[in-house]
């Protein structure tokens, strides 16, 4: 039985990732990107691909490093600590998990390109302000051997810069999942200026024609094809968010040990000590939930829903607590743009909504636990 502790390889991987990211993609890099209006960093993605990160879930047969979900979580957690911007979640985690369900040449060739950093993806899911992936109004009407897509998707993460888009649409046969170029004719990206300074867009589909080959899986089976990818993404996002919570927390405890008021360090006030200690407990529980989700996704992915939802719900909640307490315990400096806490706070809020918020996942947990 795989244990809920890091293996030696995972520890090495996290050390390597930590070293690389704190040099190449720390919070200061995100600040730079925000100030210059960039929202993605293709050169960084190339370096990550060279290290095998883009292929973390790509099978070896398609030239990936195939390290598995738990390893992907190790990477995501380090990215969370540094607020690193990359297409890791959409492309390396979700699109790869989705495409590896298929063994045809087209899927294999796409997976190969993902592994070398030559192809990025975005998932176009939500049509309302809240995550509800099976509520689909975007239509797919068959025409010839293909389809015509009409409708809108909102809050598509990586939606401006991704090479390709995975989109769920409603056809006569039921939900269908399509894989199409983001430059397809009739497809418009309206870039969103996000609080976390990352790439997101609303997508408008206006008579977008796709061939029959763009359909992944059987007509009507779109959601089944999508589900493993969604769960992989939710768990990896939980890992990223946990890393974020940990980093914000260590900024806070460092400050508690250094800031003096009334002639003593504020960390010796029990009112603050106990809140910090409580937060640490919350982070520990969340970390366990993320480790557990990683193990289950690697071992018994068809039974992962409960583990994934516990992880995503907990991570969402813990990160919000961590940044809110972080700002509060820093006092005035916590409110300044010059200090990094605000970046953590904004990313935590976006990550809380993406792929299902606390209520969405707690609701799933309740359902699976029989109430």
């Amino acid at each position: 039985m795989a244990k809920l502790i890091q293996t030696e390889e995972e520890t090495l991987l996290s050390e390597a990732a930590h070293g690389f990211l704190s040099k190449s993609a720390p919070v200061s890099r995100l600040r730079e990107m925000r100030d210059s209006g960039e929202h993605s960093d293709p050169a960084l993605w190339q370096e990550m691909a060279a290290a095998g990160w883009a292929g973390v879930l790509v099978p070896e047969a398609a030239e990936g490093s195939d390290m598995g979900h738990a390893a992907a979580h190790v990477l995501a957690r380090e990215m969370g600590r540094n607020l690193t911007v990359s297409p890791f979640l959409s492309t390396a985690v979700m699109a790869a998990t989705l495409l590896r369900q298929f063994s045809d040449d087209s899927a294999t060739s796409k997976l190969k390109q993902i592994a070398v950093g030559g192809l990025t993806y975005a998932l176009a899911l939500d049509e309302t302000a809240k995550f509800s992936p099976d509520q689909v109004e975007l239509t797919a009407q068959s025409r010839g051997n293909g389809y015509v897509l009409n409708g809108k998707k909102r809050f598509v993460v990586d939606g401006c810069d991704a090479d390709r888009i995975l989109v769920l649409a409603k056809s006569d046969a039921g939900l269908c999942l399509f894989d199409l170029a983001n430059k397809a004719q009739g497809l418009t990206q309206n870039a969103l200026k996000m609080i976390d300074s990352r790439d997101a867009a609303d997508l408008i589909f206006d008579d977008v024609e796709v061939s029959g080959e763009a359909l992944l899986g059987d007509p009507g089976a779109g959601f089944d094809v999508l589900k493993p990818a969604l769960e992989a993404g939710q768990a990896a996002l939980a890992a990223e968010t946990t890393g974020l919570a940990e980093a914000a927390f260590s900024l806070t405890t460092d400050y508690l040990k250094e800031r003096k008021q009334f002639g003593i360090t504020i960390g010796s006030f029990q009112a603050l000590q106990h809140r910090a200690a409580h937060l640490w407990c919350e982070i520990e529980l969340t970390h366990s939930a993320v480790l557990n989700a990683g193990r289950i996704l690697d071992e018994t992915p068809d039974q992962a829903t409960l583990a994934v939802s516990v992880a995503k719900a907990r991570a969402t909640d813990t990160a919000q607590k961590s940044v809110q307490e972080g700002v509060q315990m820093h006092g005035g400096i916590g409110m300044t743009d010059e200090f990094d806490m605000g970046f953590y706070m904004k990313r935590a809020r976006v990550a809380a909504e993406w792929l299902g918020d606390y209520g969405y996942h707690a609701g799933l947990v309740a359902q699976l636990r029989g109430f």
């Binding site: 502790i5 000590q273 366990s288 071992e299 947990v365 109430f371």
Partner: protein, 389 residues
């Protein structure tokens, strides 16, 4: 349990265990461990609630299953942690009761395994495993609660023996226990922590008396315990004389884990989901439902954390100060859970008797016994986060 990483190995062992349970666990002992009244505490004064309770205890003891991970020489089954996990899963699957719950198993046993001499282990551990000797814990005193190192009950050096005088308080089940493990001041000149010894005493020794104290739940497991010129052989000291604090602390980490596990029977009973589904209002009250969801998410994460810490401990990294976290989060969650059950059952829960109220009242002690929540948070801030004290 599908929720915590279950794995697929050890099929052979699982089959063996399943067969053994099928033949050996009496049907009467498969009621999902019901309430506090179904627990078997053992000891010389124990009255078995039915024949099957004794049969089940004896069979488990013979197989080493009352203390599955202890070495065989001391009455255990020498199981690895994975095997132990499988045993627990299989027992849970048929709703088997725990054959024996005891302070000997949860607290004293681990401390003896670590600090006892070989002679002490062979003498004390097997009877604990067989449920023959019931133990109580003599730590707290009227003036030494959260400030445990302040104990004053004194042991005067008489050469081969100690002469013990003083008073303990909140000693659970002292009136029904055969033996007590206690913290005694053996050196009044040394610094607080450095003059304490960890001593085992026979409760029938002349000079020991107990007096029960009633709890808010109506039960009276609590006692005041008095020592008047009690003679204790020095061979009954565990660990080094005056250094009993090390043993006491080690034991407390086990006590805290046990309490956080709901192992003290206060956590048992119906799952929250089942309570909600069966009730008239549970499903439709949106606030209750929301609170229950939150509690469920947290309980699952807590269960995963217990797994993770056990995995860590098995790899040689002890849980150490993090047991304060398990204790704090586990007991606060347990209180929340019982609050929700009370809210769900409404008026039905409010009468005395076999109602959730007795468990609810009992859980209020969770954040006090074994070190209060405030003390746990202070341990975390000082020892784990290294905040200035």
């Amino acid at each position: 349990m599908g929720e915590v990483n279950a794995g697929r190995d050890h099929a052979e062992f699982r089959r063996e265990v399943r067969e053994w349970l099928e033949t050996n666990c009496p049907p009467e002992m498969r009621d999902g461990a019901a309430g506090e009244s179904s627990i078997c505490w053992g000891g010389t004064t124990w009255v078995f609630t039915c024949d099957e309770q004794k049969i089940w205890l004896d069979r488990c003891a013979a197989r080493g299953f009352t203390v599955p991970t202890w070495p065989k020489a001391y009455g255990g089954a020498g199981l690895s942690r994975d095997e132990d996990k499988i045993l627990k899963q299989e027992m849970q699957a048929i709703g088997a009761r725990s054959p024996l719950d005891s302070f000997g198993i949860w607290m004293l046993g681990p401390a003896l395994l670590k600090f006892g001499t070989e002679e002490q282990k062979l003498h004390y551990l097997p009877p604990i495993a067989r449920g023959e000797i019931r133990w109580c814990q003599g730590y707290s005193e009227p003036g030494a609660g959260s400030d445990l190192a302040g104990v004053q009950t004194h042991a005067a050096d008489q050469g081969e023996t100690w002469l013990v005088n003083g008073q303990k308080i909140w000693t659970s089940y002292a009136d029904r226990a055969d033996w007590i493990f206690a913290l005694l001041r053996t050196n009044r000149d040394a610094k607080k922590h450095l003059g304490i010894s960890f001593v085992l005493m026979d409760m029938r020794s002349p000079g020991i008396t107990t007096r029960p104290i009633q709890l808010i739940s109506g039960a009276s497991p609590f006692c005041e315990t008095f020592f008047e010129n009690v003679e204790v052989p020095k061979t009954q000291v565990v660990g080094t004389i005056d250094r009993g604090w090390d043993v006491a602390k080690y034991l407390l980490t086990h006590e805290r884990e046990m309490i956080s596990n709901g192992g003290n029977a206060m956590g048992s009973g119906r799952a929250l989901g089942a309570v909600l589904t069966e009730s008239e209002t549970g499903q439709s009250d949106p606030v209750l439902r929301g609170d229950a969801m939150r509690a469920e998410v947290d309980s699952l994460a807590m269960a995963m954390t217990l797994e993770r810490y056990k995995d860590q401990a098995e790899g040689g990294q002890g849980v150490g100060d993090a047991s304060a976290m398990l204790k704090y989060m586990g007991t606060e969650l347990n209180k929340t859970r019982l609050e929700l059950i009370m809210a769900t059952d409404g008026a039905d829960a409010l009468t005395w008797g076999d109602t959730p109220a007795s468990s609810w009242l009992r859980t209020k002690a969770n954040s006090i016994e074994g070190g209060t929540s405030e003390v746990m948070l202070s341990i975390i801030s000082r020892r784990i986060l290294n905040l200035p004290g």
